[in-house]
Structures are given as structure tokens and as C-alpha cells.
Assembly symmetry: C2
Homo-oligomer: 248 residues x 2
């Protein structure tokens, strides 16, 4: 069954409209017809629906029933990732959206090799679309929220709203493994900072330590800036959903 996130304003309890690229997808890619079934997702709820009318600009669907969907994690995992090139960012966003991450912030860090042009908007549209498509395919009812790049200072300000703030740090030794950190917290909102290609600068680590971030190791091997956020999301999602921490 095809699944489409729609905007709240296109949902009218008994019927709804699917628009833009999704309407194009239904009409020209899937070549669906009147009465074919699709699933729509709005405000974290999923509904079975039947195509009523196919127009050029929008598809009208009739809601037939609400679908039970509990595929979201109970813990919100937010990844703050040192700003990297868009192709790498897209690969990370696609994968962590499948894995169930709550949000993704690109963060301008000391060793980021990508710099922002202050006179030009840094367009995240494609990244947001990738997050949406990955969430649809992985049967989520929420997509990973993708934000505009922010400064290191801005992520520090935001960090006060999280129950647990972690930083993946390659020089961290075995004693401070994720496991031990997680055992001591009942976390609902977790923030994880992962460095850009060049890693996290020592001065940034020092600031994070002052702000009560916990350093965690992801293992002895050095992970690339694409692999590290994916690995940490895999491990955290597993931990919070299926792992030992929640069972004890």
C-alpha cells in the first residue's frame, strides 16, 4: 500500500486531498485509478482511504478507516550533525529517517569543511523531501524533522530542553560506553552531537563538557561522518525499542 504524508490543512475528517509531488506520483508513476486504496498520514495518524477523484493538481480521497500504527519510537532521538556537503547530509537524513530519528540539525562546527554563504539561503527542501519519503517507506507516522543549519552556540541553547545530551567522541574510552550512560537515565528526549568530516574540535568538546554533555564511544574503529550518526541512531533505536534498558 502506498503511503503519503499530507498537510493538516488538506484533511477534512471524511475526505482529504493529496497534492504536489504525491499527486503526480499517484497519477503518473503508480498510475492509480478511482477506487484504488492509499494510506494517508496526517498529524501522526494513519488512515486507509479510497481514491475518489483524480485531478491535475490534486487527488481527492475518501477516508475509510483509521489504521493503528505504533511504529514510532517512544524516545525522541535528535541528531545534531556537524555541517557536511549536501549529498552526505541527504544520505544521513534518509537513513536516520528510516531508523526512526525525531529530528536532524546541521550544525556549523569548527572543522566543518562546508561554509555557508550569508547572502544565500541554504536550501534544505530536498533533504526534507528525502526525510518524508524515507518515513513513508519505512511505515512511520512521523518524518524526521529537518532543520536549517544552526550555529554551535544555538545547539548549546537548545540542549537545555533535552533530558540527555550526548556527544560521539572518537577518543572516548570503553568505560564511558553508551550502555553505561543510558543505564543511568530514563530519557524521553535525547540529543546526540556527531562531528563533521574533520571531527569535533577539542575546544568544542570542552564547552560541551561544561554543559553536562556525556561523551560516548561507538567502538574502537573511527567512523566517517556519514556512518557515525547512522550507527548511533541504529543503536539508540534498538536500545529504546527492543533492548535491555527498557525491559529492566
Amino acid at each position: 500500500m502506498q503511503r503519503y504524508f499530507i498537510d493538516n490543512e488538506d484533511f477534512f475528517i471524511e475526505y482529504a486531498f493529496i497534492k504536489n509531488q504525491d499527486a503526480h506520483h499517484i497519477r503518473n508513476v503508480m498510475r492509480m485509478q478511482k477506487n484504488d486504496e492509499v494510506s494517508i498520514i496526517v498529524d501522526s495518524c494513519e488512515y486507509l482511504s479510497r481514491i475518489e477523484n483524480i485531478e491535475k493538481e490534486q487527488i481527492k480521497v475518501m477516508i475509510t478507516k483509521k489504521i493503528e500504527n505504533s511504529n514510532e519510537l517512544n524516545t525522541n532521538i535528535t541528531i545534531a550533525h556537524g555541517l557536511v556537503k549536501k549529498d552526505k547530509m541527504e544520505q544521513v537524513v534518509k537513513t536516520i529517517s528510516e531508523l526512526g530519528a525525531y529530528a536532524y540539525y546541521p550544525v556549523i562546527m569548527k572543522r566543518s569543511t562546508v561554509t555557508l554563504d550569508k547572502n544565500k539561503e541554504f536550501k534544505m527542501d530536498r533533504c526534507k523531501l528525502i526525510s518524508k519519503e524515507a518515513a513513508e517507506l519505512s511505515r512511520r507516522v512521523e518524518m524526521t524533522k529537518v532543520f536549517q543549519p544552526i550555529s554551535f552556540e544555538q545547539i548549546l541553547s537548545k540542549s537545555v530542553f533535552f533530558d540527555l545530551c550526548l556527544v560521539a567522541y572518537e577518543n572516548e574510552d570503553k568505560q564511558n560506553s553508551l550502555d553505561i550512560v543510558l543505564k543511568s537515565f530514563k530519557s524521553k528526549n535525547v540529543l546526540v552531537i556527531v562531528g563533521p568530516e574533520g571531527g569535533i574540535d577539542q575546544s568544542e568538546i570542552d564547552v560541551l563538557m561544561e554543559r553536562n554533555f556525556k561523551k560516548i564511544s561507538l567502538g574502537k574503529r573511527i567512523l566517517s561522518t556519514i556512518t557515525a550518526p547512522i550507527a548511533v541512531t541504529s543503536i539508540l533505536a534498538y536500545y529504546f525499542e527492543l533492548g535491555i534498558t527498557n525491559e529492566n
Copy 2:
């Protein structure tokens, strides 16, 4: 420090030769000179060495000392992955090589969308090179061994040599989480089968169950054929190296 895997036959205890693409990399990309230091890896051992002589075809290095490197996992994780297109395979191999996987087998499965041309060799050279480069960058002393595509029957025959055989299965319920399976095994060699794009066919699952494979869930969300092997390797590597299983 640049790191290069070299062949056993190029290693002579006091000196060694770096050849082919790596020689090119030292000469033309890194523009290194005589007396510059590189690290070489041979037979799972790492050695600090000094460049002695730069020729067109090879670089002669003098071994200065052995480097202690314990970055390999104690558990061998082998991924058997339903045959997918080469770009996807390369992305998986790159990532699991960083994460510490032992071996990667592409497996021809019922729902593989890629078919093999029997009259043509399926070239895995680029995939092997990607595995080597990822292992060098992640500071491993072994690269993930990348094999030619094999049949489903062949992976079944090989499975008898593993202590624990798992299959990632999307319909598996929470009760059979990886956690519970791992708790009951002290595993040295783990094989994990992950399906191709179309997933694993029920008839294949039935055969795997007869052969004592354990079905495992990676969470409630449906993971793509690229993400699933990466997630399972992340979780297993974490588990065996830093997780609870080894501590109890």
C-alpha cells in the same frame, strides 16, 4: 597518519613495498617524500614505517616499529545480503567495513531484482577496493572480506560453520529481539542474512527455520535493503564490543 594494507608477499620484516593504487596515492595525491612516515598493515598487524625510496611502480618503506592495534572486534560478523545493484552494495560494504564486519556475501535470492549473466564475471574489484579503503580509514587491521555472489543453497552450506545464524525479518515480533537471541549464545562467528529490495521470500524463511536460523527484529520500522545490514552491524558491533552481553 596514512595507513595502507599491503600483500604478505610485499613484506620482508625489515622493509616492505607499497604498490599499485597505494603507491600512486602516496606519490601523486599525498605527495609524500623520502623519510615521511606511513603505517602499513599486513596479516592483521600494523607497522610504523619510513619511506626509503619512491619509484614509479612501488614505494619502498623501512619498518621502524610494530604498532599495537586492537581495533578488531572479537566476534566475526558476516553479512549475507540479497544481491542488490552495485551502487547499493558499495554503500553497504563501505559502511560495514568501517563498522568492523568480518565478511560480506552477496546472495542470489528469490526477490533479488539483479540477475547474474552466466557468461560474464560479476566484477567485485571496486567493492573490494572500497572495503580496503574504509578499513584503512577506520584504523582497522583487517578489511571486510568481500566475496563473489553465491546462491542461496551455497550460503546454507556455509552456515554450518557459524556459531549463530540470524535472519533479519520484518514480520518478526518484539519477543524475538536480537537481545534475547544474543543472551543465549556465546558467539564467535555470527552470520546474518538480510534480504534484497523485495525482502525475503516466505519459502526462503521456511528453509532457514529448518536450518536453525533465528529470526530477529531490527525494530518496528521497515528498513531499506541498504539500511538493514548497516543497522544490524552497528548493533552487533556495539553489543559485542561495548554492550551488556559481554560484561555479564
